[in-house]
Amino acid sequence: MSKPQFVYVTYIETTPENLWEALTSSEFTKQYWFGAEVRSDWKVGSPFALLLDGEVTDSGEILEADPPRRLSYSFKHQKFEELRGEPISRVVFTIEPFGSLVRLTVLHDGFVEGGKYLGAVSNGWPAILSQLKSLLETGKLLDIPRAALNKGFDAK
């Protein structure tokens, strides 16, 4: 059996530089990440935080930063009691030119077997990355309720 991890690939009509900017700019993430914003100076070893309405929901540190190709940070949930006990996970973004497009691969790993966190992120990423693709390609966001992020929270 494979390790518990989440992998998502999407193809976006943009440039690697624009995609890097979209992944690392607080203002940009706020738009497609359902109001959440990333904060870091994006240097290896620096702290990373994800904030929603001014509150830190997840935090970690920068593990890899190779603009505009590869970005990785550790990710520990801080908000929901039932997810706080889960181990520190890791997010890796890989950005590759693909013809006139860019292929973005998001790997989120470091979960425990049978934990709830994997189910939560498996529902969150497709919604976030669908928004990101729409925003970069059309300049517009989808009208999806934030509750979509938690859809099936307990399902897995």
Binding site: S2, V7, Y8, V9, T10, Y11, I12, E13, F98, G99, S100, L101, N123, P126, A127, S130, Q131, K133, S134, E137, T138, K140, L142, D143, I144, P145, A148, K151
Partner: protein
């Protein structure tokens, strides 16, 4: 066919700014699928038990199957059997299900690829490589009016794994 034996081994979810009807049409129309599916055309008889074909650009039937669950514009399940010699005999039937649900003003499309036996990650890499490209293209087509050309080829590790099982590939 006993559905309970089939487990989803690959799942891909994508949100699209469109109506459920438009997403259904894009998934089942030859004209639209050709645009986002590298020139492959979906030909489906729109009824339970109807024929389901994915025709390659050279006119050959790349995938043959039938409609197994038909509930437009919410749910479609088809048998999705790639026409390579011995493939179905060795890997079993593949079921593909599309679920289309409203999510606010958008649509949540979930594709599940189900199999009746355990398959290696190398074998599954074909679908895991293909689906993101196909469904990214479908989303772009519906949202921007044009589909990007995402040229795909079968992953080398999948072709090697098939060969090791005695399945001949083109």
């Amino acid at each position: 066919m006993n559905l309970d034996q089939f487990k989803p081994l690959t799942v891909y979810t994508i949100y699209i700014a469109a109506t459920p009807e438009k997403v259904w049409e894009a998934l089942t129309s030859a004209e639209l699928s050709r645009k986002y599916f590298s020139g492959f055309a979906v030909e489906m008889q729109p009824k339970l038990g109807g024929r389901f074909i994915v025709r390659a650009p050279d006119g050959s039937e790349h995938i043959s199957g039938e409609v197994f669950e038909y509930d437009p514009p919410k749910k479609l399940t088809v048998t999705w059997n790639v026409n390579w010699p011995d493939l179905v005999a060795k890997l079993g039937t593949t079921l593909v299900t599309y679920e289309i649900e409203p999510a606010g003003e958008a649509v949540r499309l979930t594709m599940s690829e189900r199999h009746d036996r355990a398959l290696s990650d190398d074998i599954l890499s074909g679908g895991r490589t293909g689906w993101p490209a196909i469904l990214s293209g479908l989303k772009s087509l519906l949202e921007t009016g044009k589909a990007p050309q995402i040229k795909m080829s079968p992953p080398v590790k999948m072709l090697e794994a098939l060969k090791a099982m005695g399945i001949r590939t083109p």
